[in-house]
Every structure is written in C-alpha cells, then in structure tokens.
Assembly symmetry: C2
Homo-oligomer: 311 residues x 2
C-alpha cells in the first residue's frame, strides 16, 4: 500500500467518478483505474461497486475513504511540524505517558517544567507502557510514565507510587449500590471489559493476572482498545471494568465506582528513563516530582485513598 494509492482512492471516492478524479489528479484515467485495482488486489477487498453509476463505495471502501483522508491530513501535519522543528533549532523534551497519567500528575509536572525551563519545547506523547521502553531506547521520548513493570539493561525505572484500583459498574447494577470496598471474588461470573487490546503485555494482562491468582473467572472477557471505550461500554451496561482510581475523573457521573478491598489490588506509576541520562535533566525532573508529591495535590489524594483497616 502506497500513499499515492491512498490519494488516488480518496480522489475517486470523493468524485465517485474515475475520469473526473483523474482530471483533478492531473493524470489520465487508465493509470488511475490500474492503481485502484492494484489497491483492491493487495487488500483482497472490493472498495467500489462498479456495477452501477454513479459509483458507490462498499462498506470497506467507505471505511478506507474515511481513514485514508485522515491519514493523509496527518501526514501533511507531520511534514509541516518536522520542517518547523528543523528551523527552530530549540531543544525538545518528549514525555511518553499512558493516558491515565494525563488525569494525574503530568499536567502539573509539565507546568513546573515550563516554569523552570522556558527555553525548552516540551511535548507529550500518549503511548502504552511497553511501547515506552523501545521509545526510550531509540530516543523518541526522554522519559516515560507507565504502569507495567519491565526490565531492560539500558532503562532505569523508579516506582513513584502504587495507585489503588477500582471497579467501574453500570448505574443500576446490583453490585453498584453498596458504597463500601468490593472484593475481587465478587467479580466471579460477571462480564469483564479490559483494555488496552494491544500491545501486549499491558494493563489488561495485569488485571487478568490479578484475577487469575485469585481463581476469579469472569463470565466473559472483552478487550477494547482504550479506557474511553471501556467506560463507554460499562455505561452502556455491557460489563464491568477495573481501572486505576484516578481515572474515575474521566467519567464521574454515569458510571459507579467501588474501591477494591483486596490489599494487592494496586497498579504502580513507574517513571523510566535511559540509564545514560540519569544525571541530566532527569535528575531535576525527579526533584520536581518530589516537590509535587510533597504538595499533596488532589489527584494524588484520590489515588491514595487508604482502605479502612479491617482488623
């Protein structure tokens, strides 16, 4: 698959007509036909219904049209941005973090960093925990904040805190009524939704391991790409979901949350960085983080709620 083929396909889909599309692309019609054919052949899918005029898109074609349009725009943006950065010559510091930390300490940290280093271009890139390791090693990011423990010789990691987990339940679910902590064993035979579906291992595996250790078997396990989708499905009554406490903030009012009673139902926030960088800005970032934790901000209080002692 080629960008040219995508551009061509978008043109044909937009015009619903090969000849007009070819005009707009400033090429002749036969080469255009061939490119679309090759694209269809490579995908093994019919993108257009050629049996009547004007041409209509198949469902697959409609999807590809939508995605291709978006991708092409993205690539233009990437091009411009790359040129802009190339011209500006300012130092950049890229933070890779899992989505949940955007509702935790990251904004506060960035604010402190901007104040301390106004000459620095700081960028945030959302990525899964496992992706952060390779992204660190080959320099795409300078620091990572994730949830999955991993070992790598080049990467040093620091557990910032353990965050308690909560169960998200649909409003009206029988088990959503009690407000006290819930035991994981109660999730037996409930439909469970986990995220993210890729890449592995991920937060989804942490949750499944946690349940596995207790021999808790859900009625079903559905994997979705991201937490928004997971909570959406919970709100729609399709199952339960286990999330870090601080992520409740994303959807406070149409989903019920119950703290999990099991002592080990926590998920860490792990900062990771290249061992070689440990003494540069990273050291100062650690300093900023400890100042931040000392200030005991609201998001920290939410994730640190202690269980009522049961003895």
């Amino acid at each position: 698959m080629d960008l040219r083929q995508l551009r061509y396909f978008v043109a044909v889909a937009r015009e619903q007509n090969f000849s007009r599309a070819a005009d707009k692309l400033h090429i002749a019609q036969p080469p255009l036909s061939r490119q679309i054919q090759q694209l269809e052949e490579e995908l093994g899918v019919n993108l257009l219904d050629r049996s009547k005029r004007p041409l209509t898109l198949t469902e697959a074609g409609r999807f590809l049209y939508q995605q291709a349009t978006r991708t092409l725009v993205n690539i233009d943006h990437i091009k411009e941005q790359t040129q802009r950065i190339g011209r500006s010559q300012r130092e950049r510091f890229v933070i890779g973090c899992v989505g949940s930390t955007l509702y935790g300490g990251i904004p506060d940290l960035v604010r402190r960093m901007r104040a301390q280093w106004p000459e620095l271009d700081i960028e945030i890139s959302e990525m899964m925990s496992t992706e952060q390791v390779t992204a660190l090693k080959d320099g795409r990011i300078d620091v990572g904040f994730g949830r999955v423990r991993f070992n790598d010789r080049e990467v040093e990691r620091l557990t910032l805190r353990e965050e308690r987990l909560v169960v998200a339940l649909p409003k009206g679910h029988a088990k959503s009524l009690p407000k006290d902590p819930i035991a994981l064993i109660e999730l037996q035979d409930e439909p469970l939704i986990v995220y993210p579906s890729t890449p592995r291992p991920s937060f989804a595996d942490e949750i499944l391991n946690l349940l596995g250790e207790l021999d808790v078997v859900p009625a079903s396990v559905e994997e979705v790409r991201e937490i928004q989708a997971a909570l959406g499905m919970v709100a729609a009554g399709m199952g339960l979901c286990i999330i870090p406490a601080a992520s409740q903030r994303q959807r406070p009012d149409d989903v019920c949350y119950r703290m999990i009673a099991d002592e080990n139902a926590t998920s860490p926030i792990i900062m990771s960085y290249r061992r070689a960088d440990a003494n540069g800005r990273i050291k100062q970032v650690k300093q900023l983080i400890s100042e931040m934790y000392a200030a005991n901000p609201p998001w920290l209080q939410l994730s640190n709620i202690r269980l009522p002692s049961s003895h």
Copy 2:
C-alpha cells in the same frame, strides 16, 4: 514524501546505522542513503547528524521518527480493518461527532441503537463540525453531531438543543472564587485559550465572535488543537477558556468553572444528515433521541442549567 521513505527512515533511526538498516530492509545500502537524502531534501531539513558515529537524530529527525512510527502502525491497522470489514459484509452506520458530545448524549444514543439494531455495526468517528458536512456528502459518515451552523443544499440539520457556556479558570485565579455567573465583559484583558485551531470555521470562531460582538478584547488569544490541551493549559495557569457546560465533566476537580451570565452565551448541538436519507434509519434515530431527551439524563441536566432570573 512516500511511505517507503518513512519506512526506510524509521529503520535507519532505529538502527542508528545505514548498513544494518539496509540489511533489515533487504536492500543495499546506497539506495537507502539516497532515499534518506531525498527525504531530507524534500523537507528541507536535516534529519540525521552524520558528523559522528553512531548516528544521532536531530530534533526534527526525532520528531519525524516518533510520528512516522505511529503513522506506519496506523496504516497497518487501517489495512487490517478494511479487510475485516470487506469480509464481514455487515451494514455499518458511522456517526461523526465533535468530542464534547462524547461526554453528552452519544454514548447513550449508541447504546439505544445497539439495542434496537443488533445486526448493525455502529462506529463513532470524532471530527470537527465543519468536517462533518463534507464527510456526510461523500458518505464517510451517516449522521453528524456538531456545534457550528452551516448551510448546504444536500444536508439537512436539526438543532437538538442550546447548551450553556461556562468559563474555565485556574484554581486560585481571583475570578475563580465567586460561584455566581460571570459576565463575558469580565474576560476583558484576561489571557484566553480557544480550540480547535483547525479547521476553520470552528468553535473557536464562535467564541471569538461572541466576545467580538461585546467588544471584549482578551489580553492574548492562544489557539490549541483540542479541548484537553486547552483545559490542561487552564489548569497550568496559562489562561482562561470558554467551553460548553457539559464538557466540565472532563476535568472536574483541578479547574474552576463559572456559568456565563450573558443570555446569548450558548452553543447549539446540531444533528445533520443527508437530505436523501431523511426517511430511513435517520427518522428512527430522531425518534430514539427524543425518547432520550424525554428521560432527562444527567448530562442533559448539566448543560441545561437555567440562569437565575435577574429581574
């Protein structure tokens, strides 16, 4: 710029070595060098610092590496998804909506649609209001939910409701303390953050027009790409931001919100669809929406809060 060039560049960036990258790509080294040179030439930017070994990326190269990796993965996903849809042959119904509606009625609507039409594959695609018009016309989406009024012969629109606007202020800001509605005139000489930056016209323009009509001139106007960034900047103390009331849910506890007192400070939710489709599923969707509104769900209450009558 070509996908091949991106793949090649990613390989070189990952290996920090042309020869090894060429091996992995199963091509010889000289063509690889040439492709990278051409890429750099097209962008007018140095991507690699070749003056020392091992090769290092420039800041621009680092950015492109990060983005290109992501784009290539996306394209693989698009490919797989397209093939999957091509095989399944199920009918799809694609909803295009602005982000704020994901915190409003969309999840509820989707739940009702899924219940009513289990055989239908429903998909949600986030897109700006203006993008929805063209997306509707050329079949990328089947219905749109947006905030900007527009006219188009082929597209019919229906204003579902007018949602009140609120000002988001940093915690600790002088004007964040009163809890009563704030007049827009009070935003005079405050730094303002608006979104989205593209495409125009957008919600950002609606806000700027609203202020312009009242001759309110902010101290500065910064445009950011999306509401998350806008609220993040508000939380970081960099300015104020005007958002629809329901979007408060996204970030309830480290930003303060004040209802806007001006009577016309509202933003509509507009449903739009192809005129030709008005009597198919669209009619039933309208029915579902009116049932939904009749149930007076929590997100509706939030956005419908009436101003205390001032007379």
